[in-house]
């Protein structure tokens, strides 16, 4: 039983919100997210006759959007000059010890802050990261790309990738702690 495609306008009404949410969670800024959603619909429109109804329309659209997101990060990552990988030693002293050891977190920041605030804080902190770090982190943690594919998309070696992700996590963790994830009380992490 094939699924008949509604009109393009009906697509936007039916799926636009989901696609925007998907994009926004990954890229963080609304303008970019909107552009990606629009490009997704345009691509889908061009390719609609190739869509044989094998999967749900939404799954198909999200698949297209996912590619657009990956492309976006590929471009973002290559356009920004690579920060020296040796930089970022700001977290450790000359003896390799934490300058500022991690403080306690609440056990479930999303529950404690509410989900909207959770995402707002996360996005704010991701915006503070250098673009290559943010790209690597988002592609890894939100798109779930594995090492091999990440290396291809970002144009780095596996070792460089792991350093990128490590730096991203160090900076993000600190920013999140300072902006609401930190906690006191009995149950801390």
């Amino acid at each position: 039983m094939s699924e008949t495609l509604p009109t393009p306008e009906e697509w936007v009404v039916a799926y636009g919100d989901d696609l925007l949410a998907y994009a926004l969670l990954r890229v963080g800024d609304r303008e970019t997210a909107r552009d990606l959603v629009q490009e997704t619909f345009l691509s889908a429109l061009k390719g609609r006759h190739g869509f044989a109804g094998r999967s749900a329309v939404k799954t198909w659209l999200i698949g297209i959007l996912k590619h657009k997101v990956v492309d976006h990060f590929r471009r973002a990552s290559r356009e920004s000059p690579g920060a020296s990988l040796a930089a970022g030693d700001e977290f450790f002293d000359e003896n390799g010890r934490w300058k500022d050891p991690p403080g306690p977190w609440q056990p479930d920041p999303s529950e404690a802050l509410g989900r909207q605030q959770f995402w707002e804080i996360l996005h704010r902190c991701m915006t503070d990261l250098p673009r290559r770090h943010a790209s690597a982190f988002s592609l890894r943690e939100m798109e779930g790309l594995a090492t091999e594919e990440l290396c291809k998309v970002l144009g780095v070696t596996a070792t460089n990738l792991w350093v990128l992700l490590h730096r991203a996590r160090l900076a993000l963790r600190r920013c999140l702690e300072r902006n609401g994830f930190g906690g006191t009380g009995e149950e801390v992490v």
Binding site: V37, F92, G96, W119, T147, V189
Partner: protein, 90 residues
């Protein structure tokens, strides 16, 4: 013995790839003695788990204020489709 600088790097790598036997042992020994790095590892693991969980709940997220298209945005996208796409059928 690893220092915090190396141990934290391994804790992060463990989220993305398999550690070698040597790396795993080195990390475990360091964590035994180091509360700061133990905490660091727990927190990046928590962040990793939170993101997984939150992203799975996408349908609920869409209803959060600001996460859906505004009417203007919707109209703008539809306009772009009319211009950029083939004429609508039937």
């Amino acid at each position: 013995m690893l220092r915090c600088k190396e141990a934290s790097q391994l804790a992060s790598k463990a989220l993305d790839a398999e550690l070698t036997f040597r790396e795993r042992v080195g990390l475990r020994v360091h964590l035994f003695f180091c509360g700061a790095c133990t905490r660091y590892r727990r927190q990046i693991e928590l962040l990793h788990a939170l993101l997984q969980r939150e992203l799975e709940r996408l349908p609920e997220l869409v209803r959060l204020p600001g996460l859906g298209l505004t009417n203007e945005e919707r109209e703008s996208v539809v306009r772009a489709l009319r211009v950029g796409g083939p004429p609508s059928e039937g």
